[in-house]
Amino acid sequence: MTETADKTKSDRHAPVATDLAKTAEQGVKRGPDKVERVAKRFQAKDVNLYYGDFHAVQDVTMTIEANQVTALIGSSGCGKTTVLRSLNRMHELTPGARVEGEVVLDDQNIYAPNVDPVEVRRLVGMVFQAPNPFPTMSIYENVAAGLTLNRRGISKTEKSDIVEKSLRGAHLWEEVKDRLDRPGSGLSGGQQQRLCIARAIAVEPEVLLMDEPCSALDPVATLAVEDLIEDLKSRYTIVIVTHNMQQAARASDVTAFFNLEASGKPGRLVEMDATDKIFTTPSKRETEDYVSGRFG
């Protein structure tokens, strides 16, 4: 696809919400049943991402609506994870990595020179591919880590309340309430991943980024996490990177398909639309080939 085509594509993104409303009328899945808290929305404008000289992602323009699950799909190496990491300024932690363009959270460009990346990350939490509870901390301390590390003068009872609420929110409370003082690494993989989700939501971010959160989990644990994602969107905006197309179809409201023309070329956003549309009648041939498995 040429750059101009990319541009016209990005211009079409404004009416995504109306598209969604339409699909909702047809009785297809969309945003949460009830919104408990209006979270923030993201807009990426002409984002280019680099690792040193390597141009990883080219000209991404997309809108991520609040209180919805947006899935980023695409083949390996097409830059989905890189895009995800640019949304909370984790990308720049890699030596040599840099970002061009704007990422606007509600109405603040998070790459504006006066913005502190630490504050961005407090608003935009992240769950990683492999569960990574802090090995030196108990279950309780893991969930409270964000509070202990970053908020001073928080009372013990308040902290305990937040820990319980977060664990309940992560569907983990019943399984661990009797062993909160045990190390987090003693839990099973699926439990650890939900622990990490609890840790991320304990600091009440606006947006949750998930980088293939289920790739290390078995199908039962995957389903538990997907249920959780469905629940969480009443309070958070969720962006999930996944290799698993069924997962994208099951768990997301909007799907963005990334691809690269050839290896060594930068990845780009091919198409972004309501999930049902992407998986049934995508407007690009490329997308159709990928979601139907005829890719490559």
């Binding site: 407090r122 990683f128 802090f134 030196t136 590390l149 690494s185 990490c196």
Partner: protein, 368 residues
Amino acid sequence: MSDQTPDNPSAAVEPVDHVSPITGASVSGTLPSWFLQAIVGGSALVALAILLATGSFTIVLLFILTAALSLPTAYIWSRLAENSRQAMDRLVTLGIVTGFGLAVLPLISLLYEVVKRGTARFDGSFFTEAQRGVIGAGGGAEHAIIGTLVITGVATLISVPIGIMTAVYLTEYGTGRLRRAVTFFVDVMTGIPSIVAGLFAYALFAAFLGPGIRLGIIGSVALSVLMIPIVIRSAEEILKIVPDHLREAAYALGTPKWKVVTKIVLPTALAGLVTGVMLAVARVIGETAPLLVTTGVIDSVNTNPLSGRMQNLAVYAYSEYKDPGVDVQASYDKAWAAALTLILMVMILSLLARWVYRRFGTDLRDTR
């Protein structure tokens, strides 16, 4: 050729172990698992008999003769009873064991010698009496033990903050030229001869306090020069194996970098850091040369590193051997007891380091 069913007639005719259960091919038998132990034991007995018969028994000769007998015996026997691949496997196994034996033989011999000679004066008074006014038998190394603990303790207090902070700089903050320069100079420091460290510390203090100055603290500074690169190296290695995904998890919670380092990275690596420090202490606790020129020789207890000369175990052993009192053997015995004490201190530190790592170590493989 299958012998999988017990009532297979061919299995009754031929011994089972002459047929490979995997490929069904004919093999020429396998030797029992204790074959090598039996060969080595037998060779050792034969070697012992030969040495006793010729009246030239020493441990080293016994070792060499046992190795010389068992290596070809095992190879030829296995070659005849099994096949050439098995024979080579057994030969190499024995060769590796022999190499290991060669490596630990001097250590065992050293320990044996030190324990044998050191126990003569390894008694209560050795730990409770100093050498003040003692010219013959009697006296002890109380002053030297206290001196060793004080000098090494102060050296540790100086080295650990500098060493760990440098390691944190190298793994968490450093980039480009400065990082490479620091790494280079740490490598250079690792190779500094200990006497040079001693002379450096002496010259540093002599410049301010005048020539001929002898203080415990100068010894500590000299030991720090030797300790810092060891602490940096071990801490750097440990901090490197703290997985990046833990740092990222902390960053993703909106944690500033200094807190990621102090609250996540350092606690995760704590047991490894402690182990590294203990091994560094064990490395310098027996230093003699730098202390000889910096802390001096003295016969009485001094607990203040900032004032007066200070004795330590290594220099104590050296001076008891170099300038024995009227009872020469008594002085020699004290020197050996001091050596034994030093070895025990090092051993306790090493064991403690291992224990700390096992007991408090974070299993980082779990979190990968």
